[in-house]
């Protein structure tokens, strides 16, 4: 049951990435595109969290009544959780920049269509 929960989580992460890539590449509305991009990042984060999950594991805080051996054997691996925290912050920053750009471009072009806004660019 626990393994299947982990597998389900991996499957969800994979689905988020695939849906996100589809939205980012094929949807024309810039806001939908950005939501898709957020999905890709969320999928990657969920994948890392799922990897750090240890069936029957304990929280990685060394409490006074624990022995080192017991802690070393049972504590879940803290690294993935620390990485995801940083990754969420990065995701939020890039999301803010993207939305800021879309706000400016929407005012300029009066549209949210990627083909209209990004296709207009004359190089």
């Amino acid at each position: 049951m626990i393994i299947s929960a982990q597998l389900f989580s991996f499957f969800t992460a994979g689905s988020l990435v695939i849906i996100g890539i589809f939205a980012a590449l094929f949807l024309d509305n810039l806001i939908k595109k950005i939501i898709g991009l957020a999905f890709i990042g969320d999928g990657a984060n969920l994948f890392i969290i799922t990897m750090g999950y240890k069936p029957g594991g304990i929280v990685y805080i060394f409490l006074p009544n624990m022995t080192i051996s017991n802690f070393a054997q049972n504590a879940s691996y803290p690294l993935p959780f620390a990485l995801v925290l940083t990754s969420i912050v990065i995701g939020a920053s890039t999301l803010a920049v993207m939305l800021g750009l879309v706000i400016v471009l929407n005012k300029r072009h009066d549209s949210l269509s990627a083909s209209k806004i990004l296709g207009d660019e004359s190089d």
Binding site: V17, G20, I21, A24, L25, L30, K33, L37, I40, G41, G43, A44, F47, I48, M51, I68, S69, A72, Q73, Y77, L79, P80, L83, T86, S87, I90, S93, T94, V97, M98, L101, V102, V104, L105, R108, I117, L118, D120, E121, S122, D123
Partner: protein, 498 residues
């Protein structure tokens, strides 16, 4: 050996960036502070001793006898005992040269930017310092996740520099780049996650230790997937195909000094990620083949695209991306000579392309036009600057005695030595095409008669710009005449990768 100066290479630009961002309407303070800090950037690597820096003092347990005492066998008898528990920076002679060159380019880009604009922008200098700090951290870091964090910061800084440029359609280009970045970035993160899943670590040295000592099956398909995803991130960060078009657009939408810095950041990100791929995956022979294939594609596509451009900033952008191909070929050859030549080419490219962007930037400064169809006769406006730009172009094409001649010659020798002389022939042919493309742009802008409708402003080209161009020329000549200054420092890293 720990050297406390090592993290300062990243901390100083970040701290000054944050401080400069707060200084609105204090033009003189921004200018003085930015120039002084930028001047420090190339100096610190020269003063820093070689070695590793363990953040938080978290050295491997095997190096810490106090903590190691009394630990159970479950830790001391496993690889946990030698693993690096914290973020590690590694500083060797190759990093020294590369961070020095990055610092030089950053200094002259910031110096030119502050003198070419009437009102220095704290935000713009903030972005330039953040980009420099991110690229420096990427060059130093031995931690693949730390690498990813600064990879994203570098991407945001590059986008910020473009947004701040006020060039037509800069927002559109920035949005395109960030959209692609938000696909490539998480895929790179997934690649890192797969490596973490297989090896239990994000420290590059530890990942290699796990693979080489049989803790991980080197042929595990998950590792191959990780290689594919990390390579995708590398292509985005470097602007190699399929990202060559957007990368060259990014250069063309930045101001010339911004483009000079962006390309240097890109070059060093490409080198750092390429070296990381080689360090972890060099046992897979096709990893080198893939690097060569993509680099060759970048060379051919970008130089071909450069020929047909009518905007000189776009021409330069494509030429800059094309030159990355030489670096990739050097790394992909996988021999000591090839990797040394690739790294040397990276240093040369960072300098020459900055030289060209700032040099051609004087045309933009005087005319506000980058469309070659509307330009001409600029030679008579300022023959000294025209000569400097010509020399920059000759340096890029690999004409002796300038620096790229030495690195390109080494690359050709390396390809012959590696048994693929065909690569050498292609590189010679493409260097000729680069030369022709540059000379065509130079002729149109500088030598043909000035179009009647072209309006040239009276602004005098700032002395700071001329000083920067002369300084770049001196560096090109020095490295062209004495290449061993750089190659002797790069060889150690190159031989460790073979």
């Amino acid at each position: 050996m720990m050297d406390s100066l090592m993290p300062l290479m990243v901390i100083i630009p970040i701290a000054s960036a944050l401080f400069l961002n707060l200084l609105h309407d204090k033009d003189r303070t921004i200018k003085i502070l930015a120039i002084v800090t930028a001047l420090v950037l190339p100096i610190i690597p020269l003063l820093t001793g070689y070695g590793s820096h363990y953040f938080g003092g978290y050295a491997p347990l095997s190096q810490n006898s106090v903590i190691a005492q009394g630990l159970p066998a479950i830790i001391t008898s496993t690889q946990l005992f030698v693993f690096h528990p914290g973020i590690v920076y590694v500083f060797g002679s190759a990093q020294k040269v590369m961070i020095f060159v990055l610092g030089i380019v950053a200094f002259f880009a910031i110096f030119t930017a502050l003198n070419e604009t009437k009102k220095p922008s704290g935000v713009y200098t903030y972005l330039m310092f953040m980009g420099t700090a991110a690229a420096t951290a990427i060059l130093l870091s031995d931690d693949i996740f730390n690498f990813y964090v600064f990879f994203e910061i570098a991407a945001l800084a590059q986008i910020g520099i473009v947004i701040a440029s006020n060039v037509k359609n800069n927002y559109e280009t920035a949005l395109k780049y960030i959209i692609l970045g938000n696909i490539a970035g998480p895929l790179l993160l997934l690649g890192i996650a797969l490596l973490l899943g297989v090896t239990g670590n994000v420290n590059i040295t530890d990942i290699i230790y796990s693979i080489k000592n049989g803790y991980v099956n080197p042929q595990n398909p998950v590792l191959l997937m990780a290689l594919a995803l990390i390579t995708f991130g590398w292509l985005y960060g470097s602007g190699l195909p399929p990202f060559h078009t957007i990368k060259s657009a990014l250069y063309s939408k930045a101001l010339p000094h911004g483009a000079a810095l962006i390309q240097a950041i890109t070059v060093f990100i490409m080198v750092a990620l390429g070296v990381m791929i080689l360090r972890i995956f060099s046992y897979l022979s096709f990893s080198k083949m893939a690097i060569i294939a993509v680099s060759l594609l970048a060379l051919v596509l970008s130089i071909t695209m450069a020929i047909v451009q009518t905007d000189f900033k776009r021409t330069l952008g494509y030429l800059a991306v094309g030159e990355l191909g030489y670096i990739g070929i050097g790394l992909g050859l996988g021999t000591t000579l090839g990797i040394t030549a690739g790294l040397f080419q990276a240093i040369n490219e960072a300098i020459i392309t900055a030289f060209l962007f700032i040099g051609f930037g004087t045309v933009l400064y005087k005319t506000r036009i980058s469309d070659t169809r509307k330009l001409g006769g600029m030679m008579f406006e300022n023959p000294r600057v025209a000569l400097l730009v010509l020399l920059a172009g000759l340096a890029m094409a690999g004409v002796p005695p300038l620096n790229a001649f030495q690195s390109k010659l080494m690359l050709i020798q390396a390809s012959v030595q590696a048994g693929v002389p065909e690569l050498g022939i292609i590189m010679i042919l493409l260097s000729i095409v680069t030369f022709m493309t540059f000379m065509r742009a130079f002729y149109i802008i500088y030598m043909r008669p000035k179009p009647a409708e072209l309006e040239i402003h009276d602004y005098k080209i700032p002395k700071a710009t001329i000083i920067s161009l002369v300084a770049f020329l001196i560096i090109c000549l020095t490295l062209g005449l004495f290449p061993q200054i750089a190659t002797s420092n790069l060889q150690t890293l190159a031989s460790s990768l073979v």
